[in-house]
Amino acid sequence: MDVITPKDRPHTRWPRHPARSALYVAVLIAVIALLAVMINVTTGGSPSQPSAEAAGAPPGNRADVQRWLKAREKAQIELNDALVPVVQNRIGSAGPNSAECRRLNAAVLALEAQGRAPVAEIDELARAGLDKIKQAAAACLAGDVASTQRLAAEGLAERADASLPLDEALEGE
């Protein structure tokens, strides 16, 4: 039986042994699956159905929802703080060099990066107003103070309107 040295081994072909090939494929699938799980955990992934464990429990008692809320706390608090100068008309000179505008934009992006909630309804309600606030941040960086304030006010109004429905969704009502 010939021995295949590294030098002799074809570079562009899968290993020829069927059992070994199957093993490699299985390992590859497992790695891909693991990566998918990790990406989902990291970014929140897309809304999914409740787990069997959580079936029947209101979203407010689900560990995955609780984790999601916990993970976005810091970004949520920072966004609120970043919005205060806008709400109080204290932006000063808006534009790309404005510290207030850059802080607001960074806060919006940080909250967006938290990924989606495990329950679609929760996700939708928790994001209420965020698109408008993102537009406000863009307007702020563009130097348009009036649009910044209008869009921020609209976004915050949308968020306020969604707050009780969000609470009720968590309660399972």
Binding site: A63, Q76, N80, D81, Q88, L156, R159, S163, L164
Partner: protein
């Protein structure tokens, strides 16, 4: 099961000749009793009996309580003093509480967490100020005469204490009940507290020292009732809970009578009535489902409305089911918005007041945790009007020893029923040494150990207690948070909060159909 620490300590003391005798303070008319039964129960081993263990576990997390039973005999008159004594092998800054257990039918080898008898109010507390402290609890009020008497010991500390039990091989370390009678001499007052074993005497024997000012700690005096006779002067009793009245058109309202597990506002109102508190802190979501004035005027009025004149209300999220929480602000009037007299809709909803406690005050701040509803939508953020107000309010009252903040939504919960948006306000509370953060919203009961604003355990931190069991219904828990020491759902009831000049104590008063108890005490920081 041996207690290695206690055994090692005993061996050390005996071996060095430091401890040849440990006995209670002699008194001509005193009798020292050994327990006829003792054991402990553990929440994380709910069906396990520990009756033969040589130590008693006392812990806040997982909740572990010690039970002790004594058979008092030979008394011809009521005792003038009864003192329960146990040894704590380790020190702690958190007190151990002695509580009444009226049920004396439990057995040493049968009691478990699941079948343990109910625990009553705290009658005395003592802090193990050093290793090997003898903790003395004044339990005179519980020893009426001959017969069986039971006590429980618990703590909020998450550091386990393991006092030797009656099975402990070191006889001197076993629990004792010292009963004093007669008038041969006037007993020296022995406040509940701790003393430390191991002061060698010239003769080589060691006795339990008389409590010294530095070694004794009295955390709470018994506070059997509110403004009714028996309340020690200088204390003020508050009732509190949130999440109360169902709407009149809701399915389970049933003319205000509710069902076994929903719409129990009438029954929790009875608990408040029996308590006869000085004030009622109504912790939000007082009128479901949307806080309409029409529902307030019927459902709430016919239950908790009986206490309206002494109520300090907190606005909840469901109050905003009516535009601008107009039903809530209209029903309570200026009591809900004293900073904006005449406001009846879209009011700020945050305010503060003082409660007289003896010759001093407790300062109470009420916040509006519906942050999206005020301050232009960022009503709890740094620099918001509410933030600036709370900062100024707490700083202006910095000289007040004890402070509590009332909020509907808690900052912490072992569920998703909380809000992180009040974090900037909690940061202010932490900076300004607020003692208690009292909340509702989560339809359950949860008590946290004192913690920092970031949620780390700290003996000088804020103690949050959530009491969302005012009648509406019950909700469950998700992942248990660190520092959550007591949780219970499927209960209805109110908290009895006793304010003392420099301390406080709490007793959860449950609807008899959902028995549960939790009580304890703390010092203002």
């Amino acid at each position: 099961m041996r207690n290695p620490l206690a055994t090692a300590l005993a061996a050390l003391l005996l071996g060095t000749g430091w401890l040849t005798l440990v006995a209670p303070i002699s008194h001509a008319a005193s009798t020292t009793l050994a327990p006829v039964a003792d054991s402990h129960v553990q929440a994380d081993a709910p069906t396990t009996n520990f009756g033969t263990a040589t130590s008693l576990r006392i812990d806040g997390d997982p909740v572990s309580k010690a039970y002790l039973k004594f058979d008092v005999q030979g008394l011809s008159t009521a005792p003038t003093r009864a003192t329960l004594k146990v040894v704590s092998p380790i020190s702690s800054t958190t007190p151990i509480n002695a509580k009444s257990v009226t049920d004396t039918t439990w057995t040493e080898t049968g009691v478990t967490y699941n079948n343990a008898p109910a625990v009553g109010a705290t009658v005395a507390s003592a802090t193990p100020s050093a290793t090997n402290s003898v903790l003395s609890f004044d339990v005179t009020s519980l020893v009426k005469g001959n017969g069986l008497v039971s006590f429980a010991l618990d703590t909020t500390s998450s550091t386990s204490k393991s006092p030797p039990s009656r099975e402990n091989p070191t006889v001197e370390y076993r629990p004792q009940l010292v009963v004093e009678t007669g008038t041969t001499s006037t007993p020296t007052p022995t406040p509940s507290g701790s003393t430390v074993i191991a002061t060698p005497t010239p003769s080589g024997s060691t006795v339990i020292a008389t409590p010294t000012p530095s070694g004794s700690t009295v955390i709470a005096t018994p506070t059997p009732s509110g403004s009714t006779p028996g309340t020690p002067s200088g204390s003020t009793v508050i009732a509190l809970a949130g999440d109360v009245a169902c709407g009149t058109t809701e399915k389970y309202y049933r003319n205000g009578n509710g069902t076994a597990d929903k719409c129990r506002m009438k029954y929790t109102a009875n608990l408040i009535n029996n308590m006869a508190p000085s004030r009622l802190f109504a912790m939000g979501d007082l009128q479901y489902n949307s806080g309409s004035l029409a529902d307030f005027n019927v459902s709430y009025q016919n239950s908790w409305g009986a206490f309206k004149s002494t109520t300090n209300p907190v606005v909840g999220n469901h109050e905003y089911g009516t535009s601008g929480a107009g039903g809530y602000f209209s029903y309570f009037g200026d009591a809900a918005t004293p900073r904006q007299p005449g406001c009846r809709k879209d009011c700020d909803g945050y305010y503060s007041f003082n409660v007289a406690v003896g010759t001093s005050n407790w300062h109470i701040a009420v916040i509006n945790g519906e942050c999206a509803r005020i301050g232009g939508g960022v009503g709890c953020a740094v620099g918001s009007p509410q933030y600036n107000w709370l900062k100024a309010d707490l700083e202006a009252n910095a000289a007040t020893k004890c402070t509590a903040v009332l909020t509907h939504k808690p900052r912490w919960s072992s569920s998703s029923f909380y809000t992180a948006e009040i974090q900037p306000l909690v940061d202010l509370m932490s900076t300004n040494k607020v003692d208690l953060l009292l909340a509702g919203h989560a339809h359950s009961y949860e008590r946290f150990a004192p913690q920092t604003a970031s949620g780390s355990a700290s003996s000088t931190g804020i103690r949050q207690i959530t009491v969302g069991t005012g009648g509406r219904d019950s909700q469950g828990f998700g992942t248990v948070l660190a520092n959550s020491v007591v949780r219970k759902n499927k209960i209805f009831g109110v908290m009895k909060l006793t304010l003392n000049p420099t301390s406080y104590s709490w007793d959860y008063i449950a609807d008899p159909t959902t028995p549960f108890s939790d009580s304890g005490s703390g010092n203002c920081i």
